[in-house]
């Protein structure tokens, strides 16, 4: 989570910080990045891909991360908090996630970059040959990588333990991803 987003998130974030329980129990909040008012997702190649907005979690927090629709999810904060992006497909440049090399994207907003923002990620994909997600430090799938198999998640990169295979700490560093055959 980057400082600027703490400012942007406003009162809700402030309340969480004051309560001393940042993000841990926070629902996915499609506010600053995702937006409930968005139109159907844009697919540059004109292919129709059925995707839906992950639904806002009920206030009781019972379904923290249960709003999945067959996507790879990336969240701004730990434990699925803050702004988010979801992709049924690939995105080779998170600086411009609506640009070329992006498919089946949802939640980021048309022009919102998600580069170097993700702090928690979850692969809630559909089962087939290509249900592993490989994330890269660099755009265009360059630099160190790490991989999540279907169903797997990393809930909090801010702890500093998770690293890419080139040793780069994972927090706020993912810049591209694609679906591939397997993580091994």
């Amino acid at each position: 989570m980057r400082r600027i987003h703490l400012v942007m998130a406003g009162a809700a974030m402030l309340a969480m910080l004051l309560s001393g329980a940042p993000a841990a129990a926070s629902p996915a909040q499609p506010d600053s990045v995702g937006s409930a008012s968005q139109a159907a997702p844009v697919d540059r190649d004109g292919r129709a891909e059925r995707v839906d907005l992950p639904r806002r979690t009920p206030a009781d927090g019972a379904r923290t991360a249960a709003e999945g629709n067959g996507y790879f999810y990336a969240y701004e904060h730990a434990y699925w908090g803050g702004g988010w992006c979801a992709w049924a497909g690939n995105a080779k440049n998170w600086i411009n996630p609506g640009g070329a090399g992006t498919s089946g994207q949802w939640g980021c907003g048309g022009n919102y970059g998600f580069d170097n923002i993700a702090t928690s990620v979850w692969n809630n994909g559909v089962r087939h040959n290509y249900d592993a997600v490989r994330m890269h430090v660099g755009t265009f799938h360059s630099g160190g990588s790490m991989c999540l198999s279907r169903g797997d998640s990393w809930a909090d990169f801010t702890l500093g333990w998770q690293v890419f295979n080139d040793g780069t700490a994972a927090d706020n560093q993912i810049s591209s991803h694609y679906w591939g055959v397997s993580c091994v």
Partner: protein, 234 residues
């Protein structure tokens, strides 16, 4: 999944070229000529993913049904199973859903298998990290970069080379990947293989208990898997 009210299709194996991975450098000239750094495969996979009967089926469901399917498949939320990875980080997954149910039947102790399986898989990342941080790798990059310079590329690392190609198109990507593979034949490819094997052996020895646990549980699953396949064919 059928009991949960959903359909599922089994896939044929992906093409062999898609199963190749080059964690350090592309050192296969023929593969580089066909695929560059592999961006065409990423796109081909995306097309196949969209055409996959499972993906099409899920895309055709209502949001409520889709959510129900994914909860039945992957579990409702990514918590329940946990693996502390040797490379750092904690990976988690649901212990519920049909995937978990099937794996529990196969391996017996799901939590233990998940942990051992993820730890062993993580060793390959740790191995790659160690290779890339090894002084011998860094040293081998220098003559490789000199060779690249003679071919017109200023990059001093594989990452820089990929970044310099960026979105400049398929021909540029293939030319750069061919240069990478050609220059790697002078020592970098051999260094990568040596370091990969050495660090792999060291890590397997350091985590031999996890490797043994994973192997024991997976060997134990083979007769159960055979029995399942046999009963489906009756």
């Amino acid at each position: 999944m059928t009991r949960a009210g959903f359909q599922m299709w089994l896939d044929a194996s992906p093409p062999a070229d898609e199963l190749r991975s080059f964690p350090y450098i592309v050192d296969d000239l023929a593969w580089a000529r066909r695929h560059g750094f592999g961006s065409d495969l990423v796109e081909a996979v995306d097309a196949r993913r969209l055409a996959d009967p499972n993906q099409r089926y899920v895309s055709g469901l209502s949001p409520e049904r889709r959510e129900a399917l994914l909860a039945a498949l992957n579990g409702p939320r990514p918590e329940g199973l946990e693996a502390r990875l040797p490379s750092g980080g904690v990976m988690r997954r649901s212990a519920e859903g049909c995937t978990s149910e099937a794996q529990r039947q196969l391996y017996g102790d799901l939590a233990q298998w998940y942990r051992a399986n993820k730890v062993v898989a993580d060793l390959s990342y740790l191995r790659q990290r160690r290779v890339l941080a090894d002084p011998a790798w860094t040293a081998a990059l220098r003559p490789w970069a000199r060779c690249l310079r003679q071919q017109g590329y200023a990059a001093d690392s594989p990452q820089r080379l990929r970044e310099s190609v960026g979105d400049r198109g398929r021909e540029a990507e293939i030319a750069a990947a061919v240069a990478e593979a050609r220059c790697a034949q002078d020592g970098l490819a051999a260094t990568a293989r040596e370091l990969d094997a050495r660090h792999g052996d060291e890590l397997a020895a350091a985590h031999h208990q996890d490797v043994a646990t994973r192997n024991r549980l997976e060997h134990g699953a083979i007769p159960r898997a055979r029995a399942v396949v046999a009963s489906e064919q009756e």
